[in-house]
């Protein structure tokens, strides 16, 4: 401890300089979701509870398929960035890194699975 220089002690404790970009990405996705979420609630709410053949026919139509796909992709990017902020607020060190990696993997896995399902339903 006594051999640490002031410079070394302060290293890595400052701003990472990517905060503005992160904030901007949250803002862009939130504006997109302000439009997408009402559309998604109306398209998904209409089909949840319908019999299987109707569900198949519904997602073969362009509008429900595109709205669902867009909402999944934009929503999960928004989730990834938002959850990262929460993790950075409450967790430190290796836990923080592991959680951010975990949330990132979960977001992209959900995106890929949802898109695969939608493509299979639509085609």
């Amino acid at each position: 401890m006594a051999y640490l220089t002031d410079r070394k002690r302060a290293d890595g404790l400052g701003s990472s300089k990517t905060g503005t970009e992160h904030f901007w990405h949250m803002k862009v996705s939130s504006v997109a979701l302000a439009v997408l979420i009402p559309l998604f609630v109306f398209t998904f709410g209409r089909i949840l509870g319908a019999p299987y053949p109707e569900v198949l026919a519904y997602f073969a139509r362009p509008f429900p398929a595109i709205i669902t796909g867009l909402t999944l992709v934009v929503g999960l990017v928004h989730f990834k960035n938002g959850a990262q902020v929460m993790i950075e607020d409450y967790a430190q060190g290796s836990t923080r890194k592991a959680l951010i990696i975990g949330v990132t993997c979960l977001s992209y896995a959900c995106m890929a699975t949802g898109l695969f399902a939608l493509i299979r339903l639509a085609l």
């Binding site: 401890m1 006594a2 640490l4 220089t5 002031d6 002690r9 803002k27 939130s30 504006v31 979701l33 302000a34 979420i37 009402p38 609630v41 998904f44 709410g45 209409r46 949840l48 509870g49 299987y52 569900v55 198949l56 997602f59 669902t68 999944l72 929503g75 999960l76 989730f79 938002g82 959850a83 929460m86 979960l106 959900c110 699975t113 949802g114 695969f116 399902a117 939608l118 299979r120 339903l121």
Partner: protein, 127 residues
Amino acid sequence: MADVNRGNRPLSPHLQIYRPQLTSITSILTRITGNGLIVAVLLIVWWLLAAATGPDYFAVADGVLRSWFGKLVMLGAIWALWYHTLAGLRHLWFDSGRGLDIPTAEKLGWGIIGGSILLTLLTIILF
């Protein structure tokens, strides 16, 4: 200079010291609803995957989503979704530098609470 008073500084009072206020409650609810919505996303993605897999698997996933428990989760998700959407719109308004005085911020707070309940009821009635 390097070792002056390390780790022995006065701390500012933290969350549990302050009396809960509408602005702080609506703020933390935004975080809880936003992150909690991943549960709904997982359910919906699972439901979509089941629909893409075949009628038997779809019956399982559809059965879970339409059970009383699934309905309870979906009801919570609808409210969380509307709450987070309205809170997000409020954030965009705050970010423009407007609505930051206490009376307006509190009015907006009640607005997103009431609005989210109203939109949830509307969604249930419509579907």
